[in-house]
Every structure is written in C-alpha cells, then in structure tokens.
C-alpha cells in the first residue's frame, strides 16, 4: 500500500514506523525530503553570499586604497536612519522565527500575525530607504550626478558602492516580503501546516540572510567615519 516511507525530517522521527505496527489503517506515505530542500536552500544562500561577497571585496579594496575619502563620504550618511533600519530588520527576523515556532505549535493565527508583522517591518525598511535616498538625491548625491563627479575619486567609489550594495540589498528585501506574503497564502490554504512547514523554514532562511547582509552593510557604510 505505502510505496515509500521517508522520515528524513528530524521533526517527525517520533512518527517513524507508525504505518507498520498498525495494519487496521491505511497509511499513505508521500515522499518528502525536507533535509534535501533545506540543503538546496543553503546552496542557493551560498551563491547569494558570493554575490554580495564580491561587492564586499570591492569595498575592501577601494577603502584600503583611499581610507580618507571613505571616511569623509560616510559623514554624508544618516546614522539614525541606518540604526533604525537595523533594528527594524532584526525585529523582522525575530517575528519570522516566531512565526515558525507558532506553526510548529499549530497556532495558525499567531503564525499569520507574526508573518504580517514581518512584512510590515519590510515595508517600514523600504519607506526609510525611500526617505534616505530621496534626501541624498535631493542633495545631488547619486551615481552620475554633477555633484558626485566633482568629488575625489575615492568618494565617487564610495557612493557607487553605497547605491549598488544597499540597492541590491533593498531588492532582496522586496523579494523577501513577496515570498513571505506567498507563505501566508500557503498557510491559509493549509499547504503549510504543523507537520509540513519546510517552505516557511526556507523562506525564513532567505529572510535571515537579508538581515545578515545588512548587519555588515550598516557598520561598513554608516558607522566607519
């Protein structure tokens, strides 16, 4: 009757062999390799780290070449906005992980609530970013502007990297928020539930990576002046 019995997922090991002891019921085991999907997710995260890593290496090289310019350029950034966004992202990481705890305990509504808060944090981050960038652009600081063209070479590099790295990161925040919204739909439709939440876990991994990258972006761009 049951073709394959797989209990790779360590959350379910206590159910292992259930189908064999009791013949009065029909058990249908659906092949599911949670560990496999998690390792696949980590492989993807690895490529993400390499993507951002390459940019961090560029930052490192340019900073060593002209530390004074990086010091001066960083004075233009708003530490308060950066710090607020750090706290917002850390909080969103917390609510993401709490949403997983909630689904493990079958508290569907609580899980949805935490995911909604996570998305709200992502939107707050984006609004802050909007204000931050508009203020910069208003002051004529954007790639290719006349104002930036007159700056020393090191500061041009700094702002180029600033827009590229925080821009790419912000893009990840948008993607992450969409993924979390999809997870909420899956929870409502019960595709994600108490016994099957690997999609939520993997989405969480992605979201934490976005947080992780910001943990390094914040001090390197906003604080080191």
């Amino acid at each position: 009757m049951s073709a394959v019995s797989e209990t790779h997922d360590n959350h379910h090991h206590d159910h292992a062999g259930h189908g064999y002891g009791d013949n009065s019921k029909l058990y249908i085991h659906i092949f599911r390799d949670d560990l496999g999907s998690k390792v696949g997710m980590w492989l993807f995260l690895f490529t993400e780290v390499l993507l951002f890593g390459g940019l961090f290496f560029l930052y490192f090289g340019y900073r060593v070449a002209d530390p004074q310019a990086f010091h001066d350029a960083a004075l233009n950034l708003d530490v308060m906005l950066g710090a607020v966004n750090t706290i917002v992202l850390l909080t969103s990481s917390l609510t993401m992980v709490l949403a997983i705890v909630a689904i493990q305990r079958d508290s569907v509504k609580l899980s949805l609530f935490y995911l909604a808060v996570t998305i709200a944090c992502a939107l707050t981050f984006l609004v802050n970013k909007y204000f931050e960038w508009s203020a910069k652009i208003h002051h004529g600081i954007y790639p290719g502007s006349d104002h930036v063209a007159e700056m020393p070479q090191g500061e041009i590099s700094f702002f180029g990297l600033y827009y590229l790295m925080t821009g790419l990161h912000t893009f990840h925040v948008i993607v992450g928020a969409i993924i979390i919204a999809v997870c909420m739909v899956f929870i409502v439709k019960k595709h994600i539930n108490k016994d099957k939440y690997i999609i939520l876990e993997n989405s969480g991994l992605y979201w934490h990576l976005v947080d992780l990258i910001w943990i390094f972006l914040f001090p390197l761009f906003y604080l080191l002046h």
């Binding site: 390792v39 492989l43 690895f46 490192f60 917390l94 992980v97 990576l209």
Partner: protein, 104 residues
Amino acid sequence: MSNHAELHEEEHHEEHPGYGFYTAIWIGLIALTGLTVAIAGVDMGMYTVPLALLIACIKSMLVLNYFMHVKFDNILVKVFAAGCGVIIALVIIFLGFDVFIGGS
C-alpha cells in the same frame, strides 16, 4: 516527579526553542547594535574598523546559529554554513595580501 518533568521540558526545549528564547537572542542583537553605534562615536584609531567588524561577526553568529537554526541542524547544514564562511574568509585574507603588500 517534578524533577523528571523539568528534565523532559529541558530536553524538549533543546529541540525546539520557544518564543522566550528567540526574544532573548533578539534583545542581545539590539544591545550589540546599540554598542556598535555607541562605539562609532568614540575615536579609537586603527581599532575602530576591526572592532565594528568583530561586533558584526558576533551578531551574525547569533543570527546563523539561532535564527537560522544552524546550531540545532543536521551536520550537512553545519558543513555548508561553515564552508561558506571559510571560503569568504580565505578570499578576504588573500585579497588582503594583494591590497596591502601588492604595491601599485
């Protein structure tokens, strides 16, 4: 009897940390963020950058181990995460040779 119950609770805790545990990690992360901002205002010369990066590394270890669950995960996931970090660290070190003693 109560001893046994506590023990069981602890074991259960180790497998799936609860709401309180993660909130404690979050408080730690916020505190470390406050520390980085506070330290940035103090001029410590050549130590400023390494110190800021050290705090960032501690924060990322907290996120990786607890929020991303690596500490409680399968050895395969641990190897993946550690391998990723080692490769990045190696590239940074070799890049360091190049930018610091490579000449022009």
